[in-house]
């Protein structure tokens, strides 16, 4: 059985109207979860690459993030929180410029009308200084928190430029998971895919299999990540992995062409392929994902 999701299956599973891409998780098993259902929704933004300069792929690079912020603020129902799954800024060799970009990013997203923001680093933010500037401006690169019965785990697979989670963080993860019931709903947030999506394009985490092995005994796990600048849906066993679109430029489908060059800007369809997602918890361990293209929210 292929591990990639069949979009039609999701639509059937979701059983909802247009706009919702699909539902994820073990909807049929929701009643087994130990935690009572408390529905809520959050927004995932990813890969804004603030500081990127490439008019051929995004002549609106200076405005796209602010558009996304405005469109999140215009949602009919404000999310409980917003999570950014990495590559907040575009990389630079200059530590001062890196921090300047991070401060500018923070100033823009400060306009989000939500109570809580959760930040993760991408390799563009953290790989050249092993997360030093990110920690100064955004806090720890890995952490966990609980929200209305769901345990969220933010994993750092980018501060090591070789894309390892590393022994220390793996040990921390084991301790964190040990506090949970095996049927507790768990959401993992990270930047790179935790599985070998396209190793020839560096779309993988070198020790991601060890993370997945730790998650496998847990019945209700969903992973949301970024890095690949497009929606993608995959399963490793019962664990669903959902990649998010970017806020700077789309990338080609995994392995679909020799190089992972950005998709060029199409003036006839500005912002095509860029957007954010709303994730709604439906029942104890099921999530519906609604995709919002920039300019169409």
């Amino acid at each position: 059985m292929p591990a990639d999701f069949d979009r039609r299956d999701f639509l059937r599973l979701a059983g909802v109207g247009a706009g919702v891409v699909f539902a994820s998780g073990l909807a049929g098993c929701a009643a087994r979860a130990a935690v009572p259902s408390t529905d809520f929704h959050f927004v995932q933004l990813s890969d804004s690459h603030w500081g990127f300069d490439g008019p051929a792929v995004n002549p609106e690079a200076a405005t796209t993030l602010a558009r996304a912020v405005a469109e999140v603020n215009a949602l009919p129902s404000p999310p409980d929180f917003v999570v950014f799954t990495g590559d907040l800024t575009h990389t630079t060799d200059d530590p001062r410029e890196r921090r300047r970009r991070m401060r500018e990013f923070k100033a823009i997203v400060a306009d989000l009308r939500v109570r809580d923001l959760h930040f993760l680093a991408g390799e563009h933010d953290a790989s050249l200084d092993r997360g030093e500037a990110f920690r100064e401006l955004f806090g720890p690169t890995h952490y966990s928190f609980d929200h209305r019965g769901v345990h969220f785990i933010a994993l750092d697979n980018v501060s090591d430029p070789a894309a390892r989670v590393g022994e220390e963080q793996l040990a921390w993860l084991a301790k964190d998971l040990a506090t949970l019931d095996k049927d507790a709903p768990v959401v993992v947030l990270t930047h790179r895919p935790l599985f070998d999506l396209a190793p020839q394009w560096d779309w993988a985490t070198r020790d991601g299999d060890q993370v997945v092995a730790q998650l496998m005994p847990h019945a209700n796990v969903t992973v949301f990540y970024g890095h690949i600048h497009q929606e993608h849906h995959h399963r490793t066993g019962h664990i669903a992995h959902h990649a998010a679109t970017s806020l700077i430029f789309p990338l080609p489908a995994p392995g679909s062409q020799p190089k992972r060059d950005p998709v060029r800007w199409d003036a006839a369809q500005p912002f095509r392929g860029l957007g954010f997602r709303e994730v709604e918890r439906q029942g104890a361990a099921a999530f519906a994902i609604r995709q919002y293209p920039i300019g169409e929210a």
Partner: protein, 117 residues
């Protein structure tokens, strides 16, 4: 003193062995330099069944060499030579890339290893 002499002797033996390998049918050495953001050369040609020794250096920052289809991987640290012995058992054109994030341009740092039958 005796230990130093022994080590010196061992090093000399290794050097001599390497020199013999270069001239007496040992693995063919292929130097590869990993610079921001290119491999030099970015196309490496070998023959199927030929034993080669890939010798990587990175004069600027740490880099990686990864050819997933061939299972070849090396971490390249400035100031050191990373050696990777390789004998191709299949012909074809195989991608390799830098898998250690090295800056703005990292995503385009790739090449091909071409194995002829």
């Amino acid at each position: 003193m005796q230990r130093r002499l022994l080590l010196a002797g061992f090093a000399a033996t290794l050097l001599a062995a390497a020199a013999r390998a270069a001239t007496d049918g040992g693995p063919r050495r292929i130097p590869v330099v990993a610079r921001k953001f290119v491999f030099i050369p970015n196309e490496i040609a070998v023959r199927k069944g030929e034993s080669v020794l890939l010798e990587f250096s990175a004069p600027e920052v740490a880099m990686g060499f990864f050819a997933p289809e061939l299972g070849l991987r090396a971490l390249i640290v400035p100031g050191e030579v990373a050696r990777l012995p390789f004998t191709a058992d299949k012909a074809g054109r195989f991608d390799f890339l830098c898998d250690v994030f090295c800056g703005d341009g990292h995503e385009g740092m790739s090449g091909h290893l071409v194995v002829t039958a």
